[in-house]
C-alpha cells in the first residue's frame, strides 16, 4: 500500500527536500499516474502548423490513447479516439495525409473527417434505432483546445480551461511565439527517439541548468571555438527560475551562445551580423526595447506539466515524452521557427544551432539521455538508498537558475495529483 506522504520528504526548517526513488520504479505509482495525471491534465497533442490545409489529418498516441486529429472540410480542428465504433480497429492507420473520409479496414465502416459516420456495412441487418444512433460516429476526445498554435487534449470532461491550466506559462509561451513576425511553425523533419528511463527524469532534466557546464562540457567547448572564445560559460549569468503555477516552471538566463533571434556569433560571418541586427531592430519596433531584450538575449527552458518542454535556447525545440513503461519513454522533438525564415540563411543557422545541441545526433541531448538512463539503472538501489535530493536553494527559496526550485515545483504538483487520486 503506497502512502503518498512517504514519497516526498520535505523539511522546510532544515532546508531539505527529498524524493523517494521508488517514484521512478514502482509499477503501482506508474498506474496511479495514468489516472491522476495523464487522464486529468491538458496534454500537448500537436501544433496548428502540422495541419494547415482543410482535409488533412495526423494520427498520434497521447498518454497511450490512439488519436486521429483532422482539419475538416470547413477548416475546423477535430480530435477523435482512433477506434472504430464497430469492433474497435484503428480507423486510420497512416501517420498523416489528406482524406475526406476514413474507411475501417476490418468491416468497412466509413467516416467523414468531421467524425460523422457515412456508412455502416449492411445497414438493413440493423434496427432503425441503431442506424440512426449517434453512437456510430467517431468518438471525440473529451476536451480539445489551442493556445498560440499549440493544440492540447484533456481526457477529463470536467477539467478547467486550457488557459486557466496554463496559468503563468501563457506569458512565457507568448515570449517565444512573439519572436516571429508572421507566426511560428514546426519545421519539416521530426526527431522521434526514446530514452530508457522514467518520464519524470526528462521533466526534471528539461528545466535543469546546473548540469550545463559538466554534462555538456563538449558543447561548451564547441561554442567557445565557434565564437573564437568570446562565448564561454565562466561568468555568472542573470536569470531566475519561476514557478508558473499548476506544476509549470520556467528557467530564464542570459544566453551565452548564439541565438537566431538575435545574438550573432563570429562563425556566421558579417552578412549574418547585418541580417540579425535587422531582425533585432524589427523586434524592438514591434515590442519595445525591454521586451525585445528579454526575448532575444535570454534563453528560457519552459516546462508545461507534465510532459511538454518548449526550450528557447540556441534554437527552439518543442519536445514531448510519452511514458511507455515505468522505465521507458518515447520522445518526440521538433524545431519551431518563424514563418518568415523560410528559404533564408536564417533558417539554416537556426537548424545548425539546433543540431549542435538537440536530438539523438546532437552534442548535448544524447548525454542527457545517458545521464537519465544512468539514474534509472542506479534507482534499482532504491530499497537501500531510498532518496533523491532536491534541496539546492530550498532553505532560502533562491530562484537562481542553477537551483532546484523548478524540480521541486514539478514534484509538488506531482505529489498533489497522486495524493488526490488516493483520496
Amino acid at each position: 500500500m503506497i502512502e503518498p506522504d512517504q514519497l516526498l520528504d520535505v523539511k522546510r526548517e532544515e532546508g531539505t527536500f527529498r524524493v523517494a526513488r521508488r517514484c521512478y520504479v514502482d509499477p503501482d505509482l506508474y498506474r496511479a499516474e495514468e489516472e491522476s495525471i495523464f487522464s486529468k491534465c491538458w496534454l500537448y497533442l500537436a501544433h496548428e502548423s502540422e495541419l494547415t490545409k482543410s482535409n488533412c489529418f495526423l494520427t498520434r498516441k497521447i498518454a497511450g490513447r490512439p488519436l486521429l486529429l483532422t482539419r475538416d472540410a470547413s477548416g475546423n480542428l477535430r480530435a477523435f479516439l482512433n477506434v472504430c465504433p464497430h469492433r474497435g480497429a484503428q480507423v486510420c492507420r497512416h501517420r498523416s495525409g489528406s482524406a475526406k473520409s476514413f474507411t475501417c479496414l476490418y468491416h468497412g465502416w466509413t467516416f467523414s473527417n468531421d467524425g460523422r459516420v457515412l456508412s455502416i456495412t449492411e445497414p438493413a441487418t440493423y434496427s432503425r434505432t441503431f442506424v440512426d444512433s449517434d453512437r456510430n460516429n467517431l468518438q471525440q476526445v473529451p476536451r480539445l483546445a489551442t493556445y498560440r498554435g499549440f493544440i492540447f487534449v484533456n481526457y477529463d470532461h470536467s477539467a478547467c480551461s486550457l488557459s486557466d491550466y496554463l496559468a503563468g506559462a501563457r506569458e512565457q509561451i507568448d515570449l517565444v511565439v512573439d519572436q516571429a513576425e508572421l507566426g511560428m511553425e514546426l519545421v519539416a523533419g521530426v526527431q522521434e527517439y526514446s530514452v530508457r528511463a522514467n518520464w519524470k527524469l526528462l521533466s526534471e532534466n528539461s528545466v535543469d541548468i546546473l548540469h550545463g557546464p559538466i554534462l555538456h562540457a563538449t558543447y561548451v567547448d564547441l561554442i567557445a571555438r565557434n565564437s573564437h572564445r568570446t562565448m564561454t560559460l565562466d561568468h555568472d549569468r542573470a536569470g531566475a527560475c519561476r514557478d508558473l503555477g499548476n506544476g509549470h516552471v520556467v528557467v530564464e538566463r542570459e544566453a551565452f551562445q548564439g541565438r537566431p533571434i538575435a545574438k550573432w556569433i563570429p562563425i556566421w560571418g558579417e552578412q549574418a551580423k547585418k541580417e540579425i541586427a535587422d531582425v533585432y531592430e524589427r523586434l524592438v519596433k514591434r515590442h519595445g526595447a525591454q521586451r525585445a531584450h528579454h526575448m532575444a538575449h535570454f534563453s528560457r527552458n519552459l516546462l508545461i506539466f507534465p510532459n511538454l518542454a518548449i526550450n528557447d535556447i540556441m534554437a527552439i525545440t518543442v519536445r514531448t515524452w510519452q511514458p511507455t513503461a515505468v522505465d521507458a519513454m518515447d520522445v518526440t522533438a521538433w524545431s519551431l521557427a518563424p514563418l518568415e525564415e523560410r528559404e533564408t540563411p536564417a533558417l539554416t543557422r537556426r537548424l545548425s544551432n539546433f543540431n549542435e545541441f538537440f536530438g539523438p545526433g546532437g552534442f548535448a541531448s544524447p548525454d542527457d539521455a545517458e545521464a537519465l538512463e544512468s539514474c534509472q539503472r542506479a534507482f534499482q538501489a532504491w530499497r537501500e538508498a531510498p532518496w533523491n535530493d532536491l534541496s539546492k536553494g530550498f532553505f532560502n527559496g533562491d530562484p537562481h537558475p542553477n537551483g532546484e526550485l523548478a524540480q521541486r515545483a514539478f514534484w509538488l504538483k506531482w505529489h498533489d495529483s497522486i495524493a488526490r487520486g488516493f483520496a
Partner: protein, 164 residues
C-alpha cells in the same frame, strides 16, 4: 592505385569495407582523412524524403566539414558521456552498387547494418549509405556521406552517437 574512373564494384567494396573497419576500431582521425576537408555527413530524419534540403529541413545529423571535425573531437574526449565507456560496434556493408559516374566523381550506394552494444543495451541501425566520391591526387575522397536510416523511428535505439 586504381583511378576512380576505372573503379568496379571490387574497388568500391574495398573502400567501403575499409571505412567500416576504421569506424569499428574507433580510428576516427583516419576515418576523417577519407573525407575532403570541406564535406558533408548527413543523416536525414525518418519522417521526410531523404533527399530533403538540410538547409531548410530538420535532420538528425547535418554536419559540414567543421562540424564533422567537432564531432570527432567530441568523440575522442572523455566527456562524450554517451560513448564513455565506448560502445562496441560492428558494421555490415552489402549490396554495393555504383550509381553514377561523372568527371572525377563517383556515386556509390550500399546497404548497411550497424550493431551497437554497451553493457546495458543492444541496438541495431540499418539503411542505405550514399557516398559521393571525388578523385584527388591522394586517391578517392568522400565529399558527402548520406546515411539514410530506413527504420521508422529511433525507438528503442534512442541515441545516434556513433558514426553510422
Amino acid at each position: 592505385m586504381i583511378p576512380l574512373e576505372s573503379w568496379t564494384r571490387t574497388e568500391a567494396e574495398n573502400f567501403l569495407f575499409e571505412e567500416a573497419a576504421l569506424l569499428d576500431e574507433w580510428k576516427l582521425d583516419e576515418w576523417r582523412a577519407l573525407f575532403l576537408p570541406e564535406c558533408r555527413y548527413l543523416v536525414p530524419a525518418m519522417t521526410v524524403d531523404p533527399y530533403s534540403d538540410p538547409n531548410s529541413t530538420l535532420f538528425l545529423i547535418a554536419d559540414d566539414g567543421h562540424h564533422l571535425n567537432e564531432r570527432i573531437s567530441r568523440l575522442k574526449s572523455k566527456a562524450a558521456f554517451a560513448e564513455q565507456p565506448r560502445s562496441r560496434t560492428l558494421r555490415v556493408i552489402s549490396n554495393v552498387t555504383l550509381k553514377g559516374r561523372e568527371e572525377a566523381a563517383l556515386q556509390l550506394r550500399c546497404t548497411f547494418i550497424t550493431y551497437r552494444t554497451t553493457m546495458e543495451s543492444v541496438d541495431t541501425f540499418w539503411g542505405y549509405h550514399h557516398h559521393l566520391l571525388t578523385a584527388t591526387s591522394d586517391g578517392a575522397r568522400i565529399s558527402e556521406k548520406r546515411s539514410v536510416l530506413t527504420m521508422c523511428t529511433l525507438r528503442p535505439q534512442g541515441k545516434l552517437t556513433i558514426i553510422l
